[in-house]
């Protein structure tokens, strides 16, 4: 496939785009299932009694878990739009490049999080197998008290 410039006007216009917020509810059962799935027996993620006596006072989320979305649309809708634009530009193949979390406060069972996402940047680079594009999505998770709990930066690679 001949690849033209990746950052077309349409793609460039997506930089800075924001999403509708996602609402996530953090429930004990969902945390336990997550911990079960990775085989993590840490009592802070599953034992209500022990968690109550810990510094957190309640079961907390393992890193990278934010509960289960009440409605899933915001962030995924946003990255889907970028993907569509990149596919049109000739970069249809998707890879998850990785993620970075900056944690400010623990996330407890019973919390409701609101997640705001933004396309922070889209860049291109010449790779071994041709040109690759990197889309950085920044997501900010805020809890029901209005406190910032986590900032996440995800990298989507399209080539």
């Amino acid at each position: 496939m001949t690849q033209g410039p990746a950052i077309t006007d349409e793609v460039r216009a997506m930089i800075g785009a924001t999403s509708e917020p996602d609402i996530l509810e953090v429930e004990r059962g969902a945390i336990r299932r997550y911990a079960d799935a990775i085989e993590d027996p840490n009592p802070l993620f599953r034992d209500v009694e022990q968690a109550r006596n810990s510094r957190y006072g309640e079961i907390i989320c393992p890193p990278g878990f934010f509960g289960w979305p009440v409605k899933r649309s915001g962030r995924m809708g946003l990255t889907a739009k970028v993907r569509e634009a990149l596919t049109k530009a000739g970069y249809p193949r998707l890879l998850d490049g990785g993620v970075e979390y900056e944690c400010f406060l623990p996330i407890r069972a019973g919390d409701t999080l609101t997640a705001y996402s933004k396309i922070a940047d889209i860049t291109e680079r010449e790779g071994k197998t041709g040109k690759m594009t990197f889309t950085i999505t920044e997501t900010t998770y805020v809890n029901q008290n209005g406190d910032l709990v986590v900032k996440a930066r995800g990298t989507m690679i399209c080539r």
Binding site: A30, R33, Y34, D36, A37, I38, E39, D40, P41, N42, P43, L44, S54, R55, P62, P63, G64, F65, W68, P69, R72, L95, D96, G97, G98, V99, E100, Y101, E102, C103, P106, R153, T155
Partner: protein
């Protein structure tokens, strides 16, 4: 490897004074299985058939279902939360998905077939005090059975101090 060994455990509380640059993060062994991938799909909500449907995975050119990058990320999360204990705080955490991994098949409902074991590892690269926070930075990674670091990353943690 029995389940209990694969799960690892939370260490006794680690303090800032216990670590030096070059110290090893207590390694954590993991066995990815076809079953774990389906559990992960259910727990994470990532239902991409690339991770369980052999026909689909073949059509995508990866040969057979591959381990979710985010599952390996979650293992690295456990590596750190086990190590820093209840009094530690994971402040920053990142990883890149560099290579593909393939899960073991299951022999029975509970036992995986013989095969590859993954190791989550880390080393301390920096320690310093910032205000009243005792901060330790680490290189972390997931290493597959061939010794390849398929998921490298970094972590910054705050540890309690004995001082």
């Amino acid at each position: 490897m029995p389940l209990i060994e694969r799960q690892g455990k939370v260490e006794k509380q680690l303090y800032f004074e216990d670590v030096e640059v070059g110290s090893e993060v207590t390694p954590l062994a993991k066995v990815a299985t076809t079953q774990m991938l389906v559990r992960w799909a259910g727990a994470s909500g990532d239902f991409n058939p690339l991770h369980y449907d052999a026909t689909f995975a073949t059509s995508q050119g990866v040969g057979s279902p591959i381990v979710h990058g985010a599952l390996k990320r979650a293992w690295l999360g456990q590596l750190m939360t086990n190590w820093i204990g209840e009094q530690g705080f994971l402040k920053k955490f990142s990883c890149q998905y560099r290579g593909m991994d393939y899960p073991r098949k299951m022999k029975t409902m509970t036992e995986p077939e013989e095969g590859e074991t993954w190791w989550c590892k880390g080393t301390v690269t920096k320690k310093y005090v910032d205000g009243d926070q005792h901060i330790v930075e680490c290189d972390i990674w997931v290493e597959n059975g061939k010794g390849e670091k398929t998921t490298p990353g970094n972590a910054t943690v705050i540890l309690p101090s004995r001082a």
